[in-house]
């Protein structure tokens, strides 16, 4: 796409990496569609409580298992709860988990990967070895083991804190759920980020401008944070956008299996597994969360592909 600059009239503002990338992204219709879907998701997740006509917990036993109608666009479930309100609260759960897990995983991955790539040596070898191991175990099974292992210690610790402080917050099982989900997911999600950052740093480390910075007598820390890392950000952003989608799917997967967020906290995953029990009679209970989850994950993938093309123009043939 290099000839685009010749055809287009020269712009007043100088072109930068980010402005070029944004221009390329806007031209990709699928990526824009993905971006729009995700913007709606963020909006709904942020303002959910003010948008839903019903509370996600309020039961109306006179209105159980209703098919979709004007009053309940997605129908109601077996306890007469409004499914649309629950799907909207599910967006909050999904978003919260995805963002927090990705932030933690990226922080761990960037720090470890940058140190390993920049300094090399024994630390680098150990790190690559650990990531190799982690990535050769099927993710889901690893999470299952971590989750099951963490459950008891965390519950015991929370119980002990409760006994100490009598703060009812420590007895809230939703918090234990979230800590477990965040913990086990972050523990398996950082290795790809670490490998990516390490590879980036390795390729940047010996560029002339880094050598120049070193010749000026700058410290390693400043070279790493000011010269190396800013140039490794592009691929990282692509990985983060894909990672957010993966984290969201993982959360719903665990909740589906009953080891993630447990009822009554709504999550798309546990709504799907509830719906699966009665799907022959009330398919809408299954259809609503499944369709929303499908649309969101597809949106993440389209956006990720678009970002990849926009930020790595050299990769395009």
């Amino acid at each position: 796409m290099t000839d685009g600059t010749i055809i287009n009239p020269p712009e007043d503002r100088p072109s930068s990496l980010w402005r070029d990338a944004w221009r390329r992204l806007r031209r990709n219709r699928l990526a824009v569609a993905g971006l729009v879907v995700l913007a709606v998701l963020v909006f709904v997740a942020a303002f959910g409580p003010w948008l839903t006509p019903y509370d996600f917990l309020s039961q109306n036993l006179d209105a159980r298992n209703l098919p979709p109608s004007l009053g309940h666009p997605f129908g109601t479930d077996d306890l007469g709860r409004d499914v649309m309100s629950r799907v909207i609260y599910g967006a909050r759960t999904a978003f919260l988990v995805a963002v927090l897990v990705t932030v933690v995983a990226v922080l761990i991955g960037v720090v470890l990967g940058a140190i390993a790539g920049f300094y090399g040596g024994r630390f680098d070898k150990t790190l690559m070895w650990v990531t190799d191991m982690t990535m050769s175990v099927p993710q889901l099974l690893l999470v299952v083991v971590i989750n099951a292992s963490l459950k008891q210690p965390i519950s015991l610790w929370m119980e002990a804190r409760y006994m100490e402080t009598m703060n009812p917050l420590y007895r809230n099982s939703a918090i234990i759920d979230f800590v477990l989900v965040f913990g086990s997911m972050a523990l398996i999600s950082w290795p790809p980020y670490a490998r990516l950052v390490r590879a980036q740093v390795l390729s940047i480390r010996n560029r002339p401008y880094v050598t120049a910075a070193r010749a000026l007598g700058l410290t390693n820390r400043i070279i790493l944070t000011r010269y190396v890392m800013p140039n490794a950000v592009g691929p990282l952003i692509v990985a983060i956008s894909a990672g957010l989608g993966t984290a969201m799917v993982l959360e719903s997967a665990f909740s589906f299996l009953g080891i993630g967020v447990n009822p009554p906290t709504p999550s798309w995953g546990n709504m799907i597994s509830d719906g699966l029990r009665v799907w022959t009679n009330y398919p809408h209970l299954l259809l609503a969360p499944a369709a929303v989850l499908a649309v969101v994950t597809v949106a993440f993938n389209f956006l990720g592909d678009g970002l990849n093309d926009a930020l790595n123009p050299k990769g395009q043939k």
């Binding site: 799907i272 799907w279 259809l287 993440f300 993938n301």
Partner: protein, 319 residues
């Protein structure tokens, strides 16, 4: 060649043992005392007798240091003994060998379906790069990749419900040659198909720029012969190397597919063990899953020099 295989094997065995060590350590330090777990499960009137527990522990070797216990576990594994389920008391090995054939058949069929569907589609997409056909295939692949099995399965079932009477929608296991296998098989193949379509497409685009392809075309070789003779063969190499990744998607996917469609395989065994915190079973299934993935990676390493002789020939590798 033999030296290469031996070197690979020698590097592979320690990594398998290390993965086992990691998983075992998680279970060992996290799950807590298995004897206590058994007693907690027992009916309420069983007294929690510390002396008795100590005796059982001594007998079962649970007072030994971590590494000794791990060694014993490995030794038993080599003899096909995975211990007993905490929940049912049955031998884990028996539970696994009852469930494994279902998953194995399903997984193998999914691989065959993937190879038959994805490679031709990827070839078509790659040879018509940036055409409408290419975008359609690629878009479908991205969609298939994005939608998890526990979403695709239910969605397909609900769609079928609109066409079929509710009793006729397939559910459960009827063997390899029953109609019921079709839907789970389709859903399980979605992600691997998407993966291989994208791989094949990228590889085709790469190969199409080679001189020998242009030469063949210039000589007037018909397009389908170019596709089968000149393009397919080099394309298969990078595709075959994805076997490990396919194995991961199939192992992950099988858990959900079996749960959604009510198939009595390893995936459902895992989920039941998870609900019951049945540690020996979880441990065994995780080890089997990791072993399958690592074995696929090893297989790829061993097959690679056959597909691409440059891999083991140091002289050729440099050119």
């Amino acid at each position: 060649m033999i030296a290469y295989i031996l070197r690979r094997l020698l590097l592979w065995i320690p990594s398998v043992v290390l993965v086992m060590l990691g998983v075992y350590a998680l279970a060992f330090y996290g799950a807590g005392d298995p004897i206590k777990l058994i007693f907690l499960r027992a009916p309420g009137d069983v007294a929690y007798d510390p002396v008795k527990i100590e005796a059982i522990r001594e007998q079962a070797g649970l007072n030994q240091p971590f590494l000794v216990q791990f060694g014993t576990y490995l030794w038993n594994l080599l003899h096909g003994n995975f211990g007993n389920s905490l929940f049912s008391g049955r031998s884990v090995w028996a539970m696994i060998s009852a469930a494994a054939p279902v998953s194995l058949m399903l997984g193998l069929m999914a691989m065959i379906v993937t190879a038959l569907v994805a490679v031709p589609l990827g070839m078509i997409a790659g040879m018509n790069q940036n055409s409408r056909l290419d975008y359609t295939i690629l878009g479908t692949a991205v969609t298939l990749w994005a939608i998890p099995a526990y979403v695709a399965g239910p969605l397909l079932m609900v769609m079928l419900l609109a066409v079929l009477p509710s009793g006729a929608v397939p559910y459960g296991w009827g063997g390899l040659f029953s109609v019921k296998i079709i839907l789970p098989l389709i859903v399980l193949s979605f992600q691997p198909i998407a993966l291989i379509i994208r791989q094949t497409r990228a590889a085709v685009i790469d190969v199409m720029t080679e001189d020998y392809v242009r030469t063949a075309r210039a000589k007037g070789v018909p397009e389908h012969v170019v596709a089968l003779r000149h393009i397919l063969r080099p394309v298969l190499t990078p595709v075959v190397t994805q076997l490990g990744l396919i194995m991961i998607t199939i192992v992950n996917g099988a858990i959900f597919v079996e749960l959604v469609f009510g198939l009595p395989g390893l995936g459902r065994l895992t989920v039941q063990a998870l609900i019951n915190s049945d540690y020996p079973v979880i441990l065994a299934v995780t080890l089997i899953g990791s072993f399958l993935v690592m074995a696929s990676n090893l297989l790829v390493d061993l097959l690679y020099p056959l597909l691409d002789p440059r891999a083991t020939d140091p002289k050729a590798a440099r050119t």
